[in-house]
């Protein structure tokens, strides 16, 4: 909100402006507009400033302010009404555009356009157009052109038409919050409306500086439109968690709804699993006397969608069971040129000055052998997944599989899951990010609706 403050700073000098007005090219439109736009309570200071332009007298100012506040409510209601009426039919982009067109045609002077734009900005998410650059440009187009462009150095120096500029900045601000990059049309509009060096233009320039830099900052982007098909969504989510190019996705069961002869409806949920070759070989080495666990559901947030996944994991191998496979020293030692020598027999360690490694504390964790997503979270469905896994991992047939699924019975689960709760905490890297993302969005939303 720095911009706002910037805009406000020279407000007391704002009075001077009217005295220069007669020299402007379009005097007719100039003076009435600010007064008309005062009818908006949210930015009372702006109201004040614009009022001050015309009425330097402080008593008058207060009176006028109260008067305007009354009026403001009405005007707000009218604009909101416009959208509310449009929303009755359908909340679509076409309807939204129609409302804007109606407003544009209603009055050649575009009376109350600032209020209208604020109202429109608020309504955008409702109509689902908050990510549409064309709509933002259309909104900016509501501003009358060339009127607010400063014509001389004093106007340029001081805050020329602060409320309008502030409104323009708000439009850009909302675009920013939704991650919409302005385009050339936006720039042309802003130049036409506010001139080359206005605050909205500065805002535009800043956005154009930072946006491209941040655009590809996330190495794991989530698309705005997630795949509709649950199979595709599961594929996407699983590859996102298992960031391993060797991992293989298998659809163990396709979703199916069928009606039997007796009229019963049988729904077959989808089961999609992922397993890498390394996981497969780890599982093959698993001691069949130790159980493996099917655990879940764990949440994964993809923007506003939450999906759940299940793990096939085991407890860490106790140290006494670990067998170090010693390769034949003849084959890896020095003095041989077939396989390259993989060690030298020296009693010298790396010098401290050349030891760039960090002191990393390795926390022993149990291996995760596979992951899956399923349409239903009952044990029967997951058992089918394990059956499917057995085809590529025959060893699973000999290993006892324990299902530890979190569902309705929380209390019972709590006791059983005490020792694997760190597991759940180990995952939240991705989740938290999303939650944070959601929160920031919400807070920004609040900011703009202030």
């Amino acid at each position: 909100m720095k911009v706002t403050r910037l805009l406000l700073r020279p407000q007391h000098i704002g009075w001077i402006t009217p005295f220069f007005k007669p020299s402007l090219h379009i005097p007719l439109l100039q003076s009435p507009l600010p007064r008309l736009c005062c009818g908006q309570g949210q930015r009372w200071i702006h109201c004040g400033s614009s009022v001050c332009k015309n009425k330097p007298d402080s008593a008058d100012f207060r009176e006028l302010f109260e008067h305007e506040t009354e009026k403001k409510d009405k005007s707000l209601v009218t604009h909101d009404d416009l959208f509310a009426q449009a929303a009755k039919d359908a909340k679509t982009k076409a309807n939204f555009n129609r409302v804007v067109d109606v407003f544009n045609k209603k009055d050649i002077r575009r009376r109350g356009h600032v209020e209208f734009i604020y109202a429109a900005l608020r309504k955008m998410p409702e109509f689902g157009v908050e990510r549409d650059i064309v709509v933002y440009n259309k909104l900016l187009d509501v501003f009358p052109k060339e009127v607010f462009v400063p014509q001389n150095f004093i106007q340029r120096m001081f805050n020329h038409y602060p409320r309008q500029q502030e409104c323009g900045v708000q439009v850009l601000e909302q675009m920013e919050n939704y991650g919409i990059m302005p385009n050339v049309e936006t720039k042309v509009l802003l130049v036409q409306i506010f001139g080359e060096k206005s605050h909205p233009m500065r805002k535009y320039q800043r956005m154009m500086y930072w946006f491209p830099k941040f655009k590809n900052a996330n190495p794991f982007p989530v698309p705005h439109e997630l795949p509709q098909d649950p199979l595709d969504l599961a594929r996407f989510s699983l590859t996102r968690i298992a960031n391993d190019l060797d991992a293989e996705i298998t659809v163990y069961q396709f979703p199916l709804t069928d009606i039997t002869e007796t009229g019963e409806e049988i729904a077959q949920p989808h089961i999609v699993g992922i397993q890498s070759l390394e996981q497969r070989s780890l599982l093959a080495k698993h001691n069949p006397n130790r159980p493996v666990f099917v655990e879940g559901p764990f949440p994964l947030w993809l923007r506003k969608t939450c999906v759940h996944y299940y793990l096939l994991r085991a407890d860490p191998v106790p140290p006494e069971e670990k067998i170090e496979e010693e390769p034949d020293p003849e084959l890896i030692g020095p003095e041989q040129s077939f396989f390259y020598p993989q060690r030298v027999e020296l009693d010298l360690n790396r010098d401290l000055g050349d030891d760039d490694s960090f002191d990393v504390d390795d926390v022993e964790e149990g291996p995760v052998y596979a992951m899956c997503m399923a349409g239903q979270s009952d044990q029967a469905t997951l058992a089918r997944w394990i059956c499917g896994l057995q085809e590529t991992n025959p060893v699973l047939g000999q290993i006892p599989t324990v299902f530890r699924l979190e569902s309705g019975t929380r209390e019972l689960q709590a006791a059983a899951d005490v020792h694997h709760s760190p597991e759940q905490n180990a995952e939240p890297g991705t989740e938290q990010e999303h939650i944070i993302e959601e929160e920031t969005l919400r807070s920004q939303g609040m900011k703009q609706s202030n």
């Binding site: 990059m181 385009n183 154009m208 946006f211 491209p212 655009k215 590809n216 190019l245 390769p327 034949d328 003849e330 084959l331 890896i332 020095p334 003095e335 041989q336 040129s337 077939f338 396989f339 390259y340 020598p341 993989q342 060690r343 030298v344 027999e345 020296l346 009693d347 010298l348 360690n349 790396r350 010098d351 000055g353 050349d354």
Partner: protein
Amino acid sequence: MLGFSRSVKVSKCLLASPARRLAAPLQTQRCMRTSVRSLAYAKDLFLGKVNKSEVFPYPEISNEELEEINQFVPPVEKFFGEDVDSKKIDEEAHIPVETLAGLKALGLFGIQIPEEYGGLGLSNTMYARLGEITSMDGAIAVTLAAHQAIGLKGILMAGTDEQKAKYLPRLASGEHIAAFCLTEPGSGSDAASIQTRATLTEDGKHFLLNGSKVIWISNGGLADIMTVFARTEVLDKDGQKKDKITAFIVEKAFGGVTSGKPEDKLGIRGSNTCEVTFEDTKVPVENVIGEVGGGFKIAMNILNSGRFSMGSASAGMIKRLIEMTAEYAGTRKQFNRKLADFGMIQEKFAIMAQSAFVMESMAYLTAGMMDRPGFPDCSVEAAMVKVFSSEGGWVCVSEALQVLGGVGYTKNYPFERYLRDCRILQIFEGTNEILRMYIALTGMQYAGKILTGKIKYMKKGNVGVVFEILGKKLKGSLGRNVDFGLTGKDGVVHPSLTESAKMFEQNVALFGSTVESLLYRYGKTIVDEQLVLKRVADTLINLYAMTAVLSRASRSISVGLRNHDDEVLLANTFCKEAYFKNNYWMTQLQKNSPENNDANLKKIAQAVLEKRAYTCSHPLDRTY
């Protein structure tokens, strides 16, 4: 004895150290010896020492041997020139039976097999000489090498007299062709990579050989006798069962041996490379080479001893390429000037001549070392020859092709075939990467064993040792008076090569201290510093090459060989080039050297390998 006395005279007049090799009786050099005499020229370089008696004077062969080889060469050359149609062999991916019969008649299948078993019984040096000619056709060269340099070498080196008597005569005549079966799919560093397994039958008289697939076996489809390496269960010292590798002589007639379809290769297309599968092949116990469980060492020795000949083969190939391209460059006119008048074309010929000269020098120096009595271990030297000549060969063929331009790119000329054929040199018999690791680590191991005590003292802050080293470093940096006695009054290098010898000495001294500091810095973790080891290996290869050319050119001037002034020029040119390259590499090996880009290279590679793709955006991409 004429040659003997003359050489001694020469060495007395001009070369200070006695000609050691010549002092040995001639007959003994020919035979394979099993006792290993330590020979450590290359390894001593790691300590900053020049063991000059090992490499000076340049090895010679006796007049009798020279006459003998000169009798062999012309018919072989004639055969390759007239009866071998390399183009046809390449196109049909098959060596015709008549050609093979011709090779057999010339005795080329038994070059190193002793005369008593029906071979030619030639020394390594003479084998290298013949290699120059057989390299006229890559496919034949590889077929012959797979047969005798690795295929039957096991029997020759470690076989019993019965085994030799049984197999060698027919192998020498070419009636039987040999192959060497070691490489397997997924060849890695662990014993598990060798999947072929031999189990002893209940009566204890046979081994049953079972192997999934032994791949890339040269001569696999032709071979009647194979040296096969398989895992066998062996009781080790603690009485535990362990898998060890054992070498077997396997006849195709034993049954159960199937060979797959020959591979369709880029080059050496006429040679037969295919996979071989063993299924319950019954191998009698007498056919174990060496002892049960000792196979890997045998495999190693076979490979190590076979590599040196690649140097002379490449040199032979380049010499022929020079003749072919020089003719073109001398006649073809461009812009009213002969191609040979252009500086950039001249440079190419200089590079080719220099490479051939250096390779030749290295190959025959190494062959001469190997021919010394006592079967010395020259594996590092041989590996260096292989790396240097395979890479030099590739560059030279490419340059030769470039001289011809578009014409060379067509199939009308043999250059494209040479280019394809010689690419394999960098890959087989141990890839150059593996050999570089071997060269560098063997030396590091050797130097490390000797220096460990000293470095430990240094690390503990022993003032005496630290001062000694500092003093040495100071001396080295101040005065350039490193002297290993190569030049000067009792020098072994001819005065016209003094400057080059000095450069070599400086390089060696710096190399010694570089190795020491590397050991100090990395200790046994040096094995993980592959980029460091690569430079160490490259520097050592250059040092060895410098030694070889210095030694050879000195001898040539001293005995007054024809055109020895050219040799001096080539030697000086190469030494100068190598000196600066070595200095640069060793500067990179210093700590925090700005010339060293390894960390960046690793990062780039990591980013790419993580994505398994090129990571950068397209230059035409936009963000808005």
